[in-house]
């Protein structure tokens, strides 16, 4: 009986904490890739909120948007756009970079 209750509680907790039923609008932030650089290279994001990053690759070549801290990676082909959801995040600085051009394509997400 106790085991069943623990299982029910865990499932309910997981369902609530990972549910996509969200009534608040998710803010969209645009990041452009041009000449293997990110514009803007510094992105401000509110803390504890989910945010949709719209990454537009204006270069002809593909790029992989990657962030170790955020556990996110996505290939965006040349001349295409794609989105990545991040957050909710605690206040801090989170780095992101272009894995195919790591020397130039660098950026940070500032969570306040």
């Amino acid at each position: 009986m106790i085991r069943q209750n623990i299982l029910k509680f865990t499932l309910l907790f997981l369902l609530c904490s990972h549910s996509n039923i969200c009534f608040a609008e998710v803010p969209i932030i645009e990041i452009k890739i041009k000449n293997h650089l990110f514009y803007p290279a510094e992105v401000n994001v509110p803390s504890n909120k989910k945010v949709k990053l719209l990454v537009i690759n204006e270069d002809d070549t593909p790029e992989e948007w990657e962030s170790y801290e955020l556990n996110r990676e996505k290939v965006i082909m040349g001349g295409r756009k794609s989105y990545i959801f991040i957050g909710p995040l605690s206040p801090g600085v989170y780095n992101f970079f272009g894995e195919f051009h790591p020397k130039t394509a660098q950026g940070i997400i500032l969570v306040k």
């Binding site: 997981l14 904490s17 990972h18 549910s19 996509n20 969200c22 504890n48 989910k50 949709k52 070549t61 593909p62 790029e63 992989e64 170790y68 801290e69 955020l70 556990n71 996110r72 996505k74 290939v75 965006i76 082909m77 040349g78 295409r80 794609s82 989105y83 990545i84 959801f85 991040i86 957050g87 909710p88 995040l89 605690s90 780095n95 894995e99 195919f100 790591p102 020397k103």
Partner: protein, 251 residues
């Protein structure tokens, strides 16, 4: 750019190389020769990876921009399930040769498809850059060389120890890889909001930073995450427990 090319291609090759070494070792432990199956699977995987690389832009745009993540998630979930079935028949007293070869072969194909397609896309970006392409290709060859050597060393190490111990170590390492794949799978689904994300459970970057060389190799081999969410952590533990139970019952 040569160093970037070495690191990128090495980290992609490393996971596939370790996986192939473990599968090959598993077949050896149950008295099977997996050379022909492995070679055929690598070739099929490479063809699939080129097709995926060529159409990735269109694939990404499907399912309201979720195509790339869904494809990765499907390949990863198949890999996790197949690794478990392969491990079961590796440890079971009565092995089933055709299931063992079929599961092992599909794991290699899916793994090569995922890893090599990223290398192909990376190189596609430089195909018309005659200045950089030679150094990138040379760097890529070094990366492939180091990654493959690591797999060969692991294979010979597993072949050096006794068959029973080797079997258990092989399945344990396969379990670690499968657990790592499950955290990656969750991450892909969170990235496109199929599963809602939460704040990180802990931050172990002060022990191993994912951006460091050790961090990158740890990620490549067993998908080390310094900032997992609760769901990723639970999946990791669940897969590890499943493999531990299998080893205790059958090993």
């Amino acid at each position: 750019m040569m160093l970037e090319s070495i690191i990128l291609i090495l980290t992609e090759i490393l996971e596939a190389s370790v996986l192939i070494a473990l599968l090959y070792s598993g077949w050896n432990c149950i008295g099977l020769n997996g050379r022909s199956t492995t070679l055929k699977s690598i070739i099929i995987g490479m063809i699939c990876s080129l097709v995926i690389a060529y159409y990735l832009g269109d694939i990404s745009d499907t399912f309201e921009g979720r195509g790339q993540e869904l494809l990765n998630a499907i390949l990863l979930s198949f890999c996790i399930g197949l690794i478990f079935i392969y491990s079961y028949f590796c440890l079971n007293e009565k092995t089933n040769v055709s299931i063992s070869f079929l599961t092992g072969s599909l794991i290699v194909i899916f793994s090569i498809t995922r890893e090599v397609s990223e290398i192909a896309i990376f190189l596609m970006g430089y195909i018309y850059n005659s200045e950089l392409l030679p150094s990138l290709l040379f760097g890529g060859l070094i990366g492939i060389g180091i990654g493959t050597s690591f797999g060969i060393l692991l294979y010979y190490f597993l072949g050096y120890i006794s068959s029973k111990k080797s079997k258990i170590i092989t399945v344990s390492l396969l379990g670690l890889l499968a657990a790592g794949m499950s955290t990656e799978l969750i991450s892909y689904l969170m990235q496109v909001d199929i599963i809602g994300s939460t704040t990180f459970l802990y931050d172990s970057s002060f022990i191993i930073n994912e951006s460091s060389l050790i961090g990158r190799f740890s990620y490549a081999i067993f998908r080390y995450e310094s900032t997992p969410t609760l769901l990723q952590f639970l999946f990791y533990v669940f897969i590890l427990c499943s493999f531990s139970t299998l080893i205790i019952k059958k090993g």
